[in-house]
């Protein structure tokens, strides 16, 4: 699914200055524990999380995550946004809670990218 479409489904607001919204995202993964993400996310996923610090951006970089959506209208710290701009990682804020956000994307055909 194209990032632009995911942002639409999430009623998302861009938090970084990434211009290219036509990135291909293979699936999604929801977690608040970064070790869980590192342990079992597959490459090219979008991460849905409630965690709002720079480590989310670092984790995304290590695990080849294409974009991050912060659920529940949460705003990451400015350090996190600066780092994401530096690393060209799109950060998005969605008003939906983690459960509903995951459900909406999954139902629209975005598969789970958790390693089995």
């Amino acid at each position: 699914m194209i990032l632009r479409e995911i942002i639409h489904l999430a009623s998302g607001k861009m938090l970084t200055d990434v211009e290219d919204l036509d990135i291909e995202v293979k699936g999604g993964y929801t977690a608040d524990l970064m070790s869980d993400v590192l342990a079992s996310i597959q490459p090219d996923a979008i991460l849905l999380t409630g965690l709002c610090n720079p480590q989310v951006v670092r984790t995304a970089q290590m695990a080849d995550i294409r974009a991050v959506i912060f659920a529940g209208g949460k705003q990451p710290t400015s350090d996190a946004i600066d780092l994401a701009n530096e690393e060209k990682l799109p950060l998005i804020s969605s008003p939906y809670g983690l459960y509903e956000l995951s459900g909406r994307l999954f139902q629209s055909g975005l598969p789970s990218l958790k390693k089995i």
């Binding site: 998302g12 524990l33 970064m34 070790s35 342990a39 965690l51 984790t59 290590m62 080849d64």
Partner: protein, 329 residues
């Protein structure tokens, strides 16, 4: 409302590569100066010359405008349109001064190219006279000069980048020894969680630049990131990460001087953690660090003495063609 915002650009099809080039051109237009792209070897005419001379000059050199100069000082500019006006009247014997526009737009040679672009946009004039720091005419700039200058700069930069990438990825082939390795060293500050991941980020980037398989770079990145976070969370003093890159293997050593792990076997169990609430708030300390590291590497050795420190050694073997053979389980 938010939806509208996101979809406003939908009509414009901008692919990754186009977007990249646009920003590069924009960058260049700020970096390059007018003097870098202008035509400096220019022809000039004087106000008392006839329009017939101008026509001959335009025809012979295939140009469409020249500055009018008296003793090196800019007096006006005469363009193809002025010549056409003159030709319509059959007035080729009249003087340049009666057809030239004396209201010449000028730009300084040390102005950035982006300024010229803005001025072209605003003025709808095809060429500007370029003045040096003393106010003397030093060149002419047209939109064509800007385009050519930008393309030339883009091309040079592209070649430089290619050479850099080539050099990095051929490092091991170009340097001959019985055993070549590249060593990267990083130091971490204890409890500086906000900075956590900087070293790992640089290590992963270095591996990719050296031409490592992305899957391999990802495994190294995840393993060293967990180790770096551990170092920051637990070490009481400066932590030390040493990565030795060789064509056949990557050896990562992560050392600290304390406090050491009381029970290594327990620390290896998924879910076991001694991390503080602060660390947990950062999304770590769930007792998955060491198990995660172990999963990503081919060999893990941990040597820890309580009160003295912990030495972690991680090895990832690079197998040609089968670099992906050990996927993360």
């Amino acid at each position: 409302m938010q939806e509208e915002k996101v979809f406003t650009n939908r009509e414009t099809v901008i692919t990754d590569s186009v977007a990249q080039n646009i920003t590069k051109v924009e960058e260049l237009s700020y970096e390059l100066m007018v003097k870098d792209v202008m035509a400096s070897n220019i022809r000039v005419v004087e106000p008392e010359m006839t329009m017939a001379v101008v026509m001959e000059l335009f025809r012979k050199h295939r140009i469409s405008g020249v500055p009018v100069v008296v003793d090196g000082n800019l007096n006006g500019i005469i363009s193809l349109e002025d010549l056409i006006r003159c030709l319509q009247k059959g007035d080729l014997q009249s003087r340049v001064k009666s057809y030239m526009s004396s209201n010449v737009i000028t730009i300084n040679s040390y102005d950035p190219v982006v300024k010229a672009l803005e001025m072209f946009e605003k003025s709808h004039v095809g060429r500007f006279a370029v003045l040096d720091t003393e106010g003397k005419l030093t060149g002419i700039i047209t939109k064509g000069d800007v385009t050519r200058g930008l393309l030339r700069a883009l091309h040079t930069r592209f070649q430089e980048e290619e050479i850099r990438r080539y050099r990095a990825s051929h490092l091991f082939e170009d340097i001959i020894s019985d055993r070549t390795s590249l060593i990267l060293r990083y130091y971490t500050k204890p409890h500086d969680i906000m900075k956590g991941g900087q070293a790992s980020s640089n290590i992963k980037r270095a591996l990719l630049r050296l031409g490592a398989d992305p899957q391999l770079a990802r495994r190294c990145g995840i393993a060293i990131y967990e180790a770096e976070i551990n170092l920051i969370i637990h070490a009481t003093d400066v932590g030390y990460i040493r990565v030795e890159i060789e064509p056949h293997q990557i050896t990562m050593k992560v050392n600290d001087n304390g406090p050491g792990i009381e029970n290594v076997e327990q620390a290896l169990k998924p879910g076991y953690s001694t991390a503080s609430e602060e660390v947990r708030e950062m999304g770590f300390g769930a007792g998955m660090g060491l198990p995660n590291i172990k999963r990503c590497v081919d060999k893990m050795t941990i040597d820890s003495t309580p009160g003295k420190g912990t030495h972690l050694e991680l090895k990832i073997f690079v197998k040609k063609d089968t670099a992906k053979s050990k996927q993360e389980e």
